[in-house]
Subunit: 362 residues, 2 copies
């Protein structure tokens, strides 16, 4: 027990070799006057504390740390909780990049999901590991997607509405009419913020063709980073404008085709050939940009990375719109009805629910 020190140097135990700064400890006091136990929000402004604060007394036991500060505040800390925070382990599982995948492990039954919390946790874990899950056994009727969204979290409503329809009806007047395939893309890069999660519910898929395609965009990015550094650098540094216009709105947002965070981790992909406008760069740079984009596009649409499966009526996919790219093979509208309903969610809902459920289980 030392007195009047600026921090505690741990010599043994779980916190061995860590130095806990007095102010860092002070703003983590756990008594009911300073911390709302219900939501872990502080009940004071830590910026009002004198930054010269020091520790006047402390005691380390097996599981707890007791500290008394120069401003007379005292607190007990759970050493295991401090350690958990320091090592920064999140309850959200790490991403597992894939180029091909056994869909079996990503399929869940909607009825069981609603009644089995462990399965619900597993579904959200797979969603974060692989970027998508498939839910079977929903009713194949309109607005059923709202009932599914309810068990996840609030819908991110946009100018498209709460949900949107992807529908193609039989047109008797032209039997040869074909609806072209959609290469894989991210939705709504022109929106601010870009929706984090998309769900698509299949009400009918009676037409010939129209299979779903998915790609783990981060897996393709990782490949690009290793194989072509020049292209990778161009796509992670060039700001692209994305635009959408209709009678009610003009949406614009800028961003990199591949966005990295400050630790060089993948943050978001914005591959969308319908709405991207590269700035008028110097001509050689522009030539390189187009080569890089084409190369990335071709990787994303190649069988090396893309999976294909059929959404049947009553099925739903939920995917991370910042990580995965989705598309559709061509189909023949006159061979039958094809009707999907979609909506957007945000990651705070899914992450928040998963952490909460897992921390109760643990």
């Amino acid at each position: 027990m030392s007195k009047n020190i600026k921090g505690i140097d741990f010599k043994e135990g779980l916190l061995k070799d860590y130095y806990l700064h007095a102010m860092w400890l002070r703003e983590r006091v756990t008594d009911a006057i300073n911390l709302d136990k219900n939501n872990l929000q502080r009940l004071y402004d830590p910026s009002l504390i004198d930054t010269n604060i020091f520790i006047v007394d402390y005691n380390i036991s097996d599981k707890n740390l007791y500290v008394k500060f120069s401003d007379k505040t005292e607190s007990y800390y759970n050493i295991s909780d401090l350690h958990k925070e320091i090592v920064g382990k999140d309850l959200i599982p790490e991403k597992k990049l894939w180029s091909n995948i056994d869909l079996h492990i990503l399929k869940f039954d909607s009825y069981v999901l609603k009644n089995d919390e462990n399965l619900f946790i597993k579904m959200l874990e797979k969603f974060y590991e692989y970027g998508f899950v498939i839910i079977n056994n929903l009713k194949s009727k309109e607005n059923e997607i709202l009932r599914f969204a309810e068990i996840i979290g609030p819908i991110r409503e946009t100018n498209y509405g709460k949900i949107f329809d992807v529908i193609s009806k039989r047109k008797a007047n032209n039997l040869a009419y074909t609806s072209l395939g959609l290469s894989v893309h991210a939705d709504n890069p022109y929106r601010k913020p870009v929706p984090g999660i998309q769900i698509l519910h299949c009400i009918a898929n009676e037409a010939k063709g129209g299979d779903s395609t998915l790609v783990d965009g981060y897996s393709v990015c990782e490949h690009l980073r290793k194989k072509n550094e020049l292209f990778f650098n161009i796509l992670t540094s060039t700001d692209i404008l994305f635009k959408f216009i209709d009678k009610d709105t003009i949406l614009e947002n800028k961003g990199k085709l591949i966005e990295l965070d400050s630790n060089e981790n993948f943050k978001q992909i914005r591959l969308n050939g319908r709405s991207d406008y590269v700035p008028l760069l110097e001509k050689d740079l522009l030539t390189k940009y187009y080569e890089a984009r084409k190369y990335f596009f071709e990787l994303c649409n190649s069988l090396d990375f893309q999976i294909k499966f059929r959404l049947e009526k009553g099925m739903l996919i939920m995917f991370d719109n910042h990580r995965l790219l989705h598309g559709r093979t061509k189909f023949y509208p006159n061979t039958g009805l094809r009707h999907l309903q979609g909506c957007y969610l945000e990651h705070d809902s899914t992450e928040g629910k998963l952490r909460r459920l897992k921390s109760i289980m643990n």
Copy 2:
């Protein structure tokens, strides 16, 4: 007129000294087969075009450019539209940083707003210039905020619900009871994504005290950048964890207290002393971080930057939650009812509407 060239070098006119790259022009063709006139979305994948494409013929007239490409595509372009895109002028006005402001220019009447499109445009312009507006003359009843939100765009619903209540009722048993002031802060930095816009509607403000405070956070950041580079660098580079817990969710997100975009422009402020957890950095760096945060906090809460005004019943404020910080002076709950309702919106709604209305007017 040259043939088989990789781009057009403009010698005169609006596009003088610009070199328009063949591919850049090719992916901007404007005919109905290639571009959906209704939403300006391309009807093809530009990444499928051969990057070796060249121009086989072109003609420049006063207002138009005609180009024929090696893949036989032909297109007319409006030179003024190309110029507008190249110079990148957005219809959203530039930010005007403030440390004090005449509220008069930011006040709008809700009734007039609904019936006067020019005033509606002006309101949104002021919102983007100054980061907030005040709307008068709403009914002071519950859920009236939903009617106002409707004229702007969809609500960003969260686990708090579509709207949330900030309510404090008279408690007869303790007349001396005081509700502490709230220093200025950004809302929900633990959410993913952090809500872009907040609106707060006042239903009753009969208690003594409880004035509203607002600060242009970007103005404070600009001051900090000039006055204390070390502090500025620490706050723009240290990743902070923000947390919120309740019985249904555990929300976590990381970010800088001051976030810059890749051009060093301000992108978002996350000052929130209730929910911020700085990592256990090396001790001297941590000491500097706390000094920097305290300095920034004190600037934000000083009269040099903060304005104070009273929200009366029937008034509403709408502010940019990424730029402005908001707070409240202390009040005495037992002197009367204080009741606000709030909700979140996103910037795509407001920006999209403003661009659309202005482009019709122009």
